[in-house]
Symmetry: C2
Subunit: 337 residues, 2 copies
């Protein structure tokens, strides 16, 4: 697999992606002081609304930049592909997103992002900005249940952005927004599978390999090793093993209501995502579980990696209301009122 | 390139995709009498609204099924991957989508689809259903300007669906809807490039090849040969050659307003699509042309093919109003009022 990316130069990959976003969606988003690594909402923010921010590596669009706008994220700092942004950028972003009521920092549970965001939070303390932090760790295959605090954040973070953004829009306090986001995350589980690798532009070769007729179960969105490599499986068997892992970790009972996200990792056709959703919805239906507002498409990718993830988000009335609340960002539009 | 698709069996690929759509979006769409090859809107249709329908092969999601709903298509008949549906299915669909004011058949300019739809239109004449037909032929590379009537329909058909659907929603007559859709198409041009092939499930091997370090310019969405094979190019050079071809065919002047669609063919990351949009918008800006409602993402794909297309849609006030009119379908949501 040689690198065949539609780009100008590896060093410009992230900046030019950001320039494309600004050129296309300048009505919804803007740069912070011209910095091509910090994106802010361009919608008017109500005074006193809690700010919702995130930070992380590039290469996962629509995560993270695609969710800045109205009803989700107020700001986002990005680094190079799969690399954390600096803590000074994160601190600048937090300052820009405080509107008097503090800022929730909502990010994937990765070492670099965590360390830098903690330092950024200390930094803004001197400006008397209150912050809270919630780490997303929805990937059930990245650590056993007993050490769930070590789990990585994957596509489930999109649901977390949506819930936190809607809670902030309702003018809930920082403490309340943080609490409901934590509640959401306790009810979100994801598992992914990959069938081909991706290439970091600055590296130029795949960072891992998957055999020609193999599928890797439980793989992370940066190519972190999964729990098992198997011969390529049928779609229904993939859906079954994914749902077995998710439901073992978070059992569901008849009468439960969930949202389901089938997320393409980048190169997987929508047809295949729908074939997986078909089986996932059958498995849930057989258990008496109802699906509310399914999300099918590319939400958190790894550039040209192929494969997909399934996220199950168990809902209650409060979470349903926040999930269906309006949002408009470059890559997420919610019509419901 | 071996076939590594997330599916159960080649013969079930299309039916199970359809089952996934119904499972996910049963509030927006429904089958016609349980037929897994004909999808209808599940929204209430105003009596007397002109019906908008299309038909074509599978393997291009969100084209076609993803645009059935409210404000775009009322019905869609599909065949196997890259194969036309039967004319009897098309006729059944047309009958189901007539609400007393006739039906516009809006489809890509491909031999099989054309032949079958013409026969279907003759068939429904016996039921006194008035129909018109508009063939989409937006691909500038598929035939020279002098024989533009032979051009293939590609991503530009999504704009045509939007305009026709909005015109019908405004309760315009069949003649008026047909006329404004034709006007839209006279102002729509597309060119695509491909960097890797795709595999038809029933075939199992790629139907064409692109060299490891090559890009094919002007390629069609079924792998139809393009106008040139070149060594892999920089993104800005790709955007330039695409825009040169489009603008030669449809010149633009300072003050013109256009919508631009950068459409990923299936495996091309959003980052790369945005890098192309960045340059396209620079080229237009230098000419004094304004971009209105850009569309960036996957709109008309070829499963796992990589590459992208650029569509330029020259607008006037009437077309702008129709473009921004509300629409809700499984894969297209327009918020504007």
């Amino acid at each position: 697999m040689i690198m065949k990316k539609i780009m100008n130069a590896p060093d410009h990959f992230v900046d030019e992606t950001m320039e494309g976003i600004i050129a296309a969606y300048g009505d919804r988003v803007k740069l912070l002081n011209g910095d091509k690594r910090v994106l802010l909402t361009n919608y008017e923010v109500k005074e006193g609304k809690v700010g919702i921010v995130t930070a992380g590596g590039s290469g996962h669009l629509p995560v993270f930049l695609g969710y800045v706008g109205s009803g989700m994220l107020d700001g986002c700092a990005i680094g190079n592909v799969f690399a954390s942004p600096s803590y000074t950028r994160m601190a600048d972003m937090i300052r820009a997103c405080d509107h008097g009521s503090g800022v929730l920092c909502l990010y994937g549970n990765y070492g670099g992002d965590k360390m830098n965001l903690e330092q950024a939070r200390e930094d803004v303390e001197f400006d008397d900005i209150a912050t809270t932090a919630v780490y997303v760790g929805d990937d059930v295959c990245s650590s056993p249940k007993e050490t769930a605090q070590n789990r990585r954040g994957v596509a489930g973070m999109v649901y977390a952005f949506k819930i936190a953004g809607a809670a902030a829009d309702k003018m809930m306090s920082l403490e309340e927004v943080t609490k409901v986001t934590q509640k959401a995350l306790e009810n979100i589980r994801t598992m992914g599978v990959a069938t081909s690798p991706c290439i970091i532009p600055e590296v130029g070769t795949p960072t891992f390999q998957i055999g020609e007729n193999e599928i890797e179960l439980g793989m992370g969105i940066h190519g972190e090793r999964g729990i098992q490599v198997r011969e390529m499986m049928r779609a229904d068997d993939i859906a079954q093993v994914v749902m077995d892992n998710i439901l073992e970790d978070m059992p569901l009972s008849a009468g439960d209501e969930v949202s389901v996200m089938v997320n393409g990792l980048g190169a997987t056709p929508l047809e295949e995502q729908l074939i997986i959703f078909r089986k996932v919805s059958q498995i849930l239906s057989e258990k008496g579980v109802t699906v509310y507002m399914p999300h099918i498409g590319e939400f958190a990718t790894s550039m040209e990696m192929s494969g997909l993830s399934v996220t199950v988000f168990k809902l209650d009335e409060e979470l349903k209301e926040l999930l269906r609340a309006p949002a408009v960002t470059p890559f997420y539009t919610n019509l419901n009122k």
